[in-house]
Amino acid sequence: MIKVLFFADQREKVGKDQLEFDGEGMNIHAVKTYLEEKYPALALDRTMTAVNEEYEEEEERLMEKNDVIAFIPPVSGG
């Protein structure tokens, strides 16, 4: 299993703040596609990806067991 976290407008669009599913072995690109099909309101094209609380640039990176992935919308803190 892997865990996806949803923040801000994503959380509101999906209606929950996280999702666990059997995504081991999928790459980041595939996870995005899977989520966008499951939740058509989600738009992940302008997000940064974080895996286990670190930014990850490599879209080919494969998900491992217990990975926590988040698609970070443009930030607006400060």
Binding site: D9, M48, E53, E57, G77
Partner: protein, 154 residues
Amino acid sequence: MEYYKITSQEIDVNEVVSSVIHPESGAVNTFIGTVREFTGQKQTVSLQYEAYPSMAEKQLCRIGSEISDRWPGVKTSIVHRTGKLAISDIAVVIAVASPHRAESYEASRYAIERIKEIVPIWKKEYWVDGEEWIGDQLEQTSYPNGRPEEERHD
């Protein structure tokens, strides 16, 4: 002792300042972000901040490391509040201590710019006539490399 924290509580500026003062420092610069009522004609009623807390604290800590790499001997603490904030409430406090004043200004400015680039915190604005996640509407911001650039302020 430097610290990097996401909190839902009110931020005590004295505490953040004290945490960076040390015998080699002669200057502390702080930047404090507050909730502004008017942006042009648009009237804000309140704000809500949400964070990815564990990751946000790591990114704040990274900003502190970037600062001590660039300005040796400079110490930084950063606290960002989450939850619903009213007009004039304090959202963020950055404190930077350095031997001389020039670096304290430069490093403080660097910290707030970096927060706005890499720290996973989002603001929802509640106006008299609506509400919106600010990150959501920023059509001009996108991340072609999948993550923010390493350091774009030189």
